[in-house]
């Protein structure tokens, strides 16, 4: 949900704030005090949180509060971060903790025991995604405009600077600056020769500003523009991707606290039902800050998060649902029943014949050993049924074909994940043990079902459709 925006923040941080340092330029940079890259770390940390108390953030980043605050103030000026300060007692601070706790494990921190009347000012900060989007775009725009203007010198008022006394003049002062002795402009105060100031971008090779160097400067600017465009390409692409998405909005600190608290309270009533939603909205993107992470739910959330992360990485490839790779499914097979149920809720939507078949197969996979003894019987039954089927289907061929198409398309349509997953599982099985028989077994179940209803003439086309489905899967 916020993943594209987080990526945007991370890219922007690396592009623009990588060498940001809170130290002034005049101070000597020793190895210890060199804190370049800290800005990136702070921004990255903020992408994993919503509103966070700055002290907590500092603690988890192992930074000094002052240092962090300086960085955050800088980001506030850069309009990347919204901050909120409020005076609060120890009790007041607890509201926030409660909000965090509510988000983290769905429990209220009910204890408000030891109240101190001491009032501290606490600062909170949060990324302002909507504004970040605008800020980054504006920044890119300004960079491009500056370079382009410089490139074709369009509508720029030339500035001149006196190398001796650093006094600056604009072209509007040209009348006063022109001297009768030579063809240069001269400083009013020290009579030094003025240098055109727009050469600062390519200052190294600027000699006396003759035409040759003008041309060189043009080339340099062009090169710079080109390099900028290609180096910031990921950023612009991400901007374009984010363009139509609604920016995640956390509101003000109070609003956020209220909403998170409410969500937490609701979660208490519903019990486990919130786990899913929480993993989706709360910890799915690591939204909630650290201290109270519920241990029991870790497994579930990590699974969800994993899927998400993977989606983020391969997001260029697909925006749709992913087909899990076989190794993943093997893991999934070993998971508990609820998880299996969680994986396939969409298939349940319409419980049709095909779905029942699937569930039958599933069960049989689970108690495979029991089934193995029955396999021979199935085989014989299958061949009998198949022979009978061929005759029957010849008669009802046209009909069957239609329904077969519809069923197969239905199966494909139901859920790419599900059917694909099952195919994967079976393939895996084939590798493990005797796959051929396994397959017959699947088919046989289909046929068994069919056998039970084979006397019913209406069911016939359905059955044939099923069988074809099975064959379909075998190919896949």
């Amino acid at each position: 949900m916020t993943e594209p925006f987080n990526r945007l923040v991370k890219l922007a941080a690396r592009a623009f704030y990588d060498d940001f340092t809170t130290k002034g330029d005049n101070q000597p940079k020793t190895g210890r005090s060199d804190n370049r890259g800290m800005a990136v770390v702070v921004l990255d940390a903020l992408t994993r949180r919503q509103w966070v108390r700055e002290e907590d953030l500092a603690k988890s980043l192992k930074l000094h509060t002052k240092q962090l605050r300086r960085t955050l103030r800088f980001f506030e000026e850069e309009k990347l971060v919204t901050r909120d300060h409020r005076k609060e007692t120890a009790k007041g601070a607890k509201i926030f903790s409660a909000a965090i706790a509510a988000a983290a494990d769905g429990q209220q921190v009910g204890k408000e025991g030891d109240e101190k009347t001491k009032i501290h000012t606490h600062s909170y900060c949060c990324l302002d995604y909507a504004q970040i989007y605008d800020v980054v775009r504006y920044r890119l725009h300004r960079m491009k405009k500056k370079l382009k203007d410089e490139l074709d010198n369009r509508n720029t008022i030339q500035e001149y600077i006196c190398p001796n006394c650093n006094r600056r003049y604009s072209a509007f002062d040209a009348m006063q600056l022109v001297s009768m002795e030579d063809e240069y402009f001269h400083c009013e105060s020290c009579n030094g020769e003025l240098v055109a100031e727009s050469d600062k971008l390519a200052a190294e090779e600027m000699g006396d500003g003759d035409d040759n160097s003008r041309r060189r400067r043009r080339e340099k600017l062009k090169d710079m523009l080109q390099r900028m465009e290609e180096q910031l390409k990921p950023l612009t692409l991400q901007l374009a991707r984010v363009k139509d998405l609604p920016a995640p909005e956390f509101g003000t600190l109070q609003a956020w606290e209220a909403s998170v608290n409410a969500a937490g309270r609701g979660g208490n009533n519903n019990g486990s039902a919130t786990d899913a939603s929480k993993s989706a909205q709360g910890q799915g993107y690591g939204g909630t800050p650290m201290p109270y992470i519920g241990e029991t739910k870790v497994e579930v959330t990590i699974f969800g998060a994993d899927v998400k992360d993977e989606g983020a990485e391969t997001e260029a490839a697909t925006a749709s649902l992913k087909v899990l790779p076989p190794w993943m499914i093997k893991q999934g097979m070993n998971l508990t029943k609820e998880q299996r149920g969680e994986l396939r809720p969409d298939a349940k939507v319409d419980g049709s014949e095909a779905y029942r078949d699937q569930s039958d197969e599933k069960k049989q996979e689970q108690k495979q050993e029991d089934v193995k003894s029955l396999e021979e019987e199935y085989l014989t039954a299958y061949y009998e049924a198949y022979a009978r089927m061929l005759e029957a289907s010849k008669t009802a061929q046209g009909e069957a074909e239609v329904s077969q198409q519809s069923t197969s398309s239905y199966l494909n349509g139901v859920s790419d994940t599900n059917s694909a997953r099952q195919v994967g599982m079976k393939v895996k099985r084939e590798d493990d043990d005797d796959g051929g028989i396994e397959w017959e077994e699947d088919v046989a179940t289909g046929i068994l079902n069919e056998l039970s209803i084979v006397n019913d003439p209406n069911a016939q086309p359905d059955g044939s459709g099923d069988e074809d489905d099975d064959i379909d899967w075998e190919e896949g």
Binding site: N153, Q158, A171, F172, V178, E183, Y184, S198, R214
Partner: protein, 177 residues
Amino acid sequence: MFFHMVLERNMQLHPRYFGPHLHEKLTTKLVKDVEGTCSGKHGFVVAVTKVESIGKGLIREGTGFVTFPVKYQCVVFRPFRGEILEAVVTLVNKMGFFAEAGPVNIFVSNHLIPDDMEFQSGDIPNYTTSDGSVKIQKDSEVRLKIIGVRVDAAEIFCIGTIKDDFLGVINDPDATA
């Protein structure tokens, strides 16, 4: 850009002109005082076209001067950013060239001159294209675009560019042929 507008001014007239030709005297003095001046608000007053009305004079104590409020129509000229002007080059140097469009001084710095024109110092400093077909020197006429205007209380100064389509020297005999 030129404007025709009505302005007002308080004229002080010496007592020696009090007589039969007072109005003519007042008009000539107005023309003499006002034409060629520059006000930051309206620009240069190019010409007084008509005196609309002359109010009642007020004799000032002590001096005997009389103050007449005068309403007059005049043509004013005020350059704007983005305006295209034709101007005469007055001075060429390494940093660019100066040109005059009527009362307005315009400076075109060398980075607003097309890149294919190079400065040639010498007896007559000029900017010339590499093939020598176009030359900007003193008294050349150029068409330029205003990109910046500085308006002072009594002065207007402009920055121009000839680095755009259809700008540059216009008195080239080949071009008119």
